[in-house]
Structures are given as C-alpha cells and as structure tokens.
Amino acid sequence: MRNKKRPTFEGYICRTGTTIEPFCEDASDSLIANEPLIETQKRAIRRAGGTPRQVRAPSELGPGPAVILFDRVYVSDKLMKDFVKAVDPAAPAMLGLARCISVEFNLPIQDVVIEDSGVFYSCFWVPDASRYAGEPDFLALESRLKADAGRVVVKMRELSASLRLPSLARQSRVFKFPITSSVAAHVVHWVTLLRLNSLQWGVRWLEYMRGDALGMAQKTVGALASAATVNPYRLMSKINVVGPDCEIHPSAYVEASFLGRGVKIGAGATVRNSFLGDGAVVGDAAYSMSSVLGAESYLTEGTALIWTVVYPGSSVGNVKIQMSMIGRDTYVGMWCSFLDAKFIGDIMVGHRGGLVSAGTSFLGSCVGNNCVMGGKVLIMPGRAIPNGTFMVMRPDECIVEIPEQLPAGVPLIRENGTLVALRKA
C-alpha cells in the first residue's frame, strides 16, 4: 500500500448549513485550534493530493474520482492521506476507524455510523462523483453514499496518557487521554467541538514533527543542550512553536504550546499544552492547561483555564474554568462559576430538541457569542448559554449603595442592595 500511487481527485466539501448551538454558526466556521473547520478540511484534501471545492448542491458534483465530505466532518491531514491511500479507486468507500481510545473519546453525541468493524464518518471516496449529482439535496446524497459505500477502516496508531480524575465515593478513576494524529469527528455539538479541540494537541504536534522532521530534531537537540537535563518537563518547556513579536515574561512557564503572532504572557503565568491565537494575552499568574485561546482573547490575572476553548476576542476572568467553551467577544467575570462535575450519572446536554448524554460526568458549559456573564452565579454542568446573553448580579444580592451615617463598630449585613445593622435585620 505504501508504494501505491496516490490518485488525483476532487475534494468536495458539501455546505449543508449545519449550525452549532449556542453559537448559531455554520459548522464550517467552528474553530479548531484557532482554525476554521473549512480551512482544516481544505488543507487535509490538499495534502492528500486533492483539489478542495465547496459545493452548495449535489448538482455541482463533477465527473471523476472524488472525496466527498460534509461541512460538519473533521478529518485530520494524516487520516485523510491514509484514507485516500487505503481505498480501492474503483469503488465507493466510507472512512472508518476501529474503536479505540481517541474514537471513544469523542464518540458521544456524534451522528456517525457505528458498526462492528468500527466507527464510520461522512467522508466518502467515489470513483465518479457525477453519478451522485442527481440527488435532490445533501441529506439524500449522504444517505445514498452511506448505502453505496464500502467500509474502509483506516489503520492508525495512538498513544495515551493516563490522567487521574477526581475520586467520588472512594471510586478512583483514571482517564486515558489519546494522543494521535489520525482523528475524525462530526462537529454537531459544542461538546464534540470542545473534545476535538482537546485532541488537537496531539494532532498538531505530530503533524508538526512529520512536516518538519529536521526542524523538530534541531529543536529537541537544542532543548537537551539548553535544559542540560532529561527531565521531560524541562525539555518540553524548551519545545514550543512561538510566532513573531511574542512577549513572554522570563518568569512565565510555557510548555509544548503553539503561540501565534504577538502573544503576551505575563509574569508567573503558566501555559501548558495550549494553543494561543494571534494577539492573545495571558495575564500575570494566569494558567492555561490544554486549552485554546483565540486571537485577541484575554485571560486575566490569576485565571485558570483548563481543557477549555475560548473563541477570539473574549475576556475570561474566572477563578477557574474547566472543560468549557466561551464564544466570540464574550466576557466571563470573576464570580461567574461553571460547575463541571455531576456526582451521579452522566451530564446531559441539550441537542436537537432533547437531552442526550455527554458521555462523561465531568463537563462544564458553553457560553455563546457576545455574552456578558457578569453576575455571581453557579451554572450547572452542560448548559449552553445563547448568543448575546447579558447576565449581571442581582441588585438585591450585592451592595449597590452605601447609606450615609453608617455606625462604626456595629456588624452590618447586606440586605436588598444596601447595608443594615445585623440586629435590625
């Protein structure tokens, strides 16, 4: 298979108009490690030897061999290349992966085809795309392709890192986090988007190594020389992809992360395994772990961001926010807390008018675009907060005005937005 000549083909990306709640954005515009999904799709097709084309109706499908994938389908570069190599050029095929840690990690909620041989994604190889040009719409096209195509399970390799989860009632739980560059997913929900972003650390690093093996080797040798140790954390702190014009404070710790242009990282800040977009700011003593910070976003001083995705232009000032998504140009204040654990059973999330299991008991929430989360509230796990939500503190729960002539030395309490003596209350 290795010597098989790669066929040239068209890569049709079918724009179905699938939207992701609560952002109300096309799936194509969903950001994966700060890159729109449509761009990752085009790149994957290009690197596999194809020519990407967006189509808005099946009638635009032309003659000749093609990959047809839908706008909600993410396929990593490596997987697309392996799929194209693995297919029989003369027969329709559907991309599949055997069930493994990385597939299971992002399986809940996805509308994929699950069979005994594996999990199959809406990415198809067809020897002649024009045969499908007569389908009335993409829904019919996808159904027909699923029926016609043979199943091709692409071989893949993955590593895993064991992470200890919080123990509940003496139950110790270990979570295996997958590291692989062969990833596929249907982006149909913010939870799948969040997990797909989490998987990007492995995808991007492995692709980076593969794309620039010499550079990576130089980086590693340089890291060994400058760290003068084989301590893995010290080594990883020397291995980052740093864009131009970045300002990293000497006391900040940056490890195995991708930094865009003009990123600023403050004193005592920690950035581990993260993606920081152009112009992102990490405040003093802030902490970003396995997270994605969008362009021009701002992580304020002391904020901890863990397994979270922040879209561009947002400011996050929470004490600690885990496994959540924050939309574009959104503000999350200090005292707005997102609960991220459920003691009994899986967290349920809203999807297509019903509730579905997120497949985990550890999950935060998702805040839409242009929101202000300014009040002191606790938000239960798995909630999706719509675009434009403007949430502030209840006036009766905080001190809005301070009366004149307050007595000194007398205990006061807040009541209905003001201060009153404790004994009067």
Binding site: T16, E301, S315, D329, R414
Partner: protein
C-alpha cells in the same frame, strides 16, 4: 535655596475623612512625598496651616496639600519662572500624563498659544504680592482661585511614553487604558480614586528613580548580600534593610521595605511595598502600593490596588481597589471591578459622579472589617469602621449530629437538610432541552448572528 509653601486646605479624602496630605501615595503619605519631591528639585518645602503663615510678597512657590508634583516637573517649572516678578501657574499640554488621574479632580482646562488644550495645576509661583482670596471661596482655597484667575500660565512639556493596559472587554471592544510613564507628573489628590490612579503611575516612577540612584559602597554590599541570600528572587528591584524571601518567590521592578517577608511562589511585580509587609505563600501583588505592616495571607491576588498600612488582606482577586488602615479583608469578599453599565460612578463632592472609567473597584475605609460574601459593585466607598458580616441565613450555622451518606443535604436557612425535604420531588438537574428540532440548517431562534471581524 528656593522655598515652596505647602498650604493646608479643607480637602478631605472620602471615605477616609483624612486630609489630603495623609493620602497614601508612592509608599508614604502625600505630605511626605511632597517634601521628598520638592527637595529632589532643590526646593525647600514648608508646610503652613493658614494664610497667615505665608509671606505677603514673593518670590516663593505655593501649592495646596492636595497637589502631587514630581521633582522633575517642579524643577522645570521653577527654572522657567525663576526671578520673574509676575505670578505664574503650572500648565501641561493635554496628554495621557494629564488625563490618567484627572477625572473628578479640580484641575483647570486652559488654552495657551503654545498648546491649545492644556491643563492647569495648583502649583503657583508668587513673584509679586499674594492676592486676596477670591472666587467666593473663603480660606486657603480662595487664594488659589485668586491666583489662578490672575497669574500667567507657564507650560511645562513632559516627556513620556505610554503603557497600553488591557482590560477585559465587557460587551464592547477591548478596553485599553493608556498609562503614562513619565518623570513629569502632577495630579490633584481629592478622592480615593486619585489615590488609586496616582499610585498606578507612581509605582513605576518611584522604582525607576530608586534604580537610577547611585548607591554608596555600603549599600552596594548590602544589596549584593540580599541578592546572594535569595538568588534569582530579586530582579530589577530595590530592597531596603533585610528581606526574608522564599527561594521560589519573585520580586520584580519593585521597591520592598525593610523587614518584608515574601512566601513561597509569591510574586511582587511593579509594586511599592512598605516596611514589615508579609506576602503569603502563593500571593501575588501586581502594580500595587502596599503600606507598612500589611499582612497578606496565602494564595491571594491583588492587582493595581492600594493598601494603607496595617491592613490584613486575603482575597481571591482584588483589582483596582483602595483599602484603608487596619482594614481586614477576608477571602470571600467580592469586589466587582468591571462595569457593564457604562462608566463607574463614585461619591465625590456630595454627589455621585462619573469617573469615565469602565474598570474600577471599591474603597474600604480605615478599620473596616469585611466578612464573607460582602459583595461590592464598582465604585462603592465604605466608611471607616464598618463591619460587614455574612447575612445569617446564607451560611451553615447548624450541622446535623449524624448524617446518612446516601442522602444528599442542602443548605437551607442556616442549616443542612435533606434535599428531598427542602425540594419535594427533587431529581438531579439536567440541562433543559434545546428549543426547536435542530439538525441541518437549524433555526437559531431569532438570536443575532455572531459578530465576525477581529480574529475570525
């Protein structure tokens, strides 16, 4: 040597009730700082309590106790007016230097041939006779009114650079404040917000000046000994006397007074710390002015705030706040600093007035004690001596003697009760189903489409 008379005024800093000279700026009182700045400018400071203490005829400099003027600014002004027979007033062209600490202050807008938009400060050169009080104001302020109405304007052009300070964008575009970095600063200190803002600017000025000063050989040896004791801890900073710092602490671009203790993983950056300050383990001070003997407990975060001496501090996040003497701040006090309703308003001159700023915390008076869940909106000022405790119903005061591990308990009216007893028919909450059928080309329920633009 030239003489500057610092005239005591009726200005009181709300909510402390202190005279302006007692305001805590630049690591000491304003009065002490005025003395230091004027001395550095080669001017002899003399504090007078009334007009009777002033000579009737110049030449001399005159300023109120509420005016801060940096040494360079005072020196340039004095040199420009020296030996003149006329009275003159300090002016500076409008710039971030004049605008940063300006809101709510009594500085005057003036228009000059050399600068159409300029700001006049109450630093006067009296070359001739001292005028009689005017402007309907009795006492010392009347003299400043009379001088301002009659004297010449002398323009001092400060050289400066600007730090662009990023704030969270609360429902609008990224909010950036231009913080001036300059040796020529003047400001009227008339409110707690001026104390705060002036300290933002002074922290860098005082540190730069301390670092630029050439120490004697003994001081060089002492600093070397301090640095050797905690290698790598002290960066670009000046430490007075002794320092007890954990090897993992970091002190950067700061001045630390004698006898300070800085705990493990603590961070002190762009700060002025007084004598005998305690910085707890994991506590961070960023761009703060901290008074003598302040005690910060572990794992707290203080940003761009001012603390008068002897305060006890423990909080998850205090930003843009002023805390008075002997105040006690517990961990769960909440001070909102980001306004979502336009510029923050503060009490000043007997009424609520806009500061023009969207980012501002609160002010706690002297000897205030703030207990758990005291929640403050931006701009509030708490009078001296207030004690705020948690409303009794919000805490758990009574704990059941025994508990069934299988029965979840909830807080209710000061005690813990089974969730079923408080909420009959309760079941664990899950997300509400999303509206609409969903799927491809789903209706977004009339919500506005996402903003596209920056970073997309």
């Amino acid at each position: 040597m030239r003489t500057a008379y610092i005239l005591k005024t009726e200005t009181r800093i709300h909510p402390f009730g202190d005279p302006a000279g007692a305001a805590w700026v630049g690591g000491g009182t304003l009065a002490a700082l005025q003395d230091e700045e004027l001395s550095l400018a080669g001017i002899r400071p003399v504090h007078v309590n009334s007009l009777a203490g002033l000579p009737p005829v110049g030449p001399f400099l005159l300023l109120p106790d509420r005016l801060y003027v940096s040494a360079r600014c005072a020196a340039v002004f004095a040199a420009m007016v020296e030996d003149s027979g006329d009275n003159a007033m300090l002016c500076m062209p409008r710039s971030p230097v004049t605008e940063y600490a300006r809101p709510l202050s009594s500085v005057r807008d003036v228009s000059l041939p050399a600068a159409r938009e300029a700001v006049a400060y109450d630093l006067f050169y009296v070359g001739g006779r001292l005028p009689a009080p005017a402007g309907g104001k009795a006492g010392t302020d009347g003299v400043f009114e009379a001088l301002a109405a009659s004297c010449a304007r002398v323009l001092v052009r400060p050289s400066y650079s600007v730090d662009r300070l990023r704030h969270p964008n609360v429902g609008h575009r990224p909010y950036v404040t231009q913080v001036p970095v300059s040796d020529s600063i003047a400001a009227h200190v008339e409110s707690w917000v001026h104390v705060l803002w002036l300290n933002h600017v002074l922290a860098s000025l005082v540190v730069r000046r301390a670092l630029a000063a050439k120490p004697g050989p003994v001081e060089v040896l002492r600093r070397a000994a301090v640095s050797a004791n905690v290698p790598g801890c002290v960066v670009n900073s000046v430490v007075g006397g002794t320092l007890d710092a954990h090897p993992t602490a970091r002190i950067e671009n700061s001045i630390v007074g004698s006898g300070a203790r800085v705990g493990a993983r603590a961070l002190v950056k762009d700060c002025i710390l007084g004598d005998d300050v305690v910085v707890g383990d994991g506590t961070k001070f960023v761009n703060c002015v901290v008074g003598d003997r302040c005690n910060s407990l572990s794992d707290s975060l203080f940003v761009r705030s001012t603390f008068y001496p002897d305060a006890t501090l423990s909080n998850l996040f205090v930003r843009e706040c002023v805390v008075g003497r002997f105040a006690f701040l517990t961990t769960a006090v909440l001070c909102f600093a980001d306004s979502h309703e336009g510029p923050v308003r503060v009490f000043h001159d007997g009424q609520m007035r806009s500061t023009g700023r969207h980012v501002l915390g609160a002010c706690m008076g002297h000897e205030t004690t703030l207990g758990t869940r005291a929640i403050f909106l931006p701009g509030l000022a708490l009078p001296n001596g207030c004690i705020i405790v948690m409303p009794p119903g919000e805490g758990v005061h009574k704990v059941p003697a025994t508990g069934d591990p299988a029965v979840p308990l909830v807080w209710d009216a000061g005690t813990l009760r089974p969730v079923e007893a408080v909420f009959p028919g309760y079941r664990p909450a899950d997300a509400e189903p999303a509206e609409g059928p969903g799927g491809m080309a789903r209706d977004c329920g009339g919500r506005s489409p996402p903003a596209r633009g920056r970073g997309t």
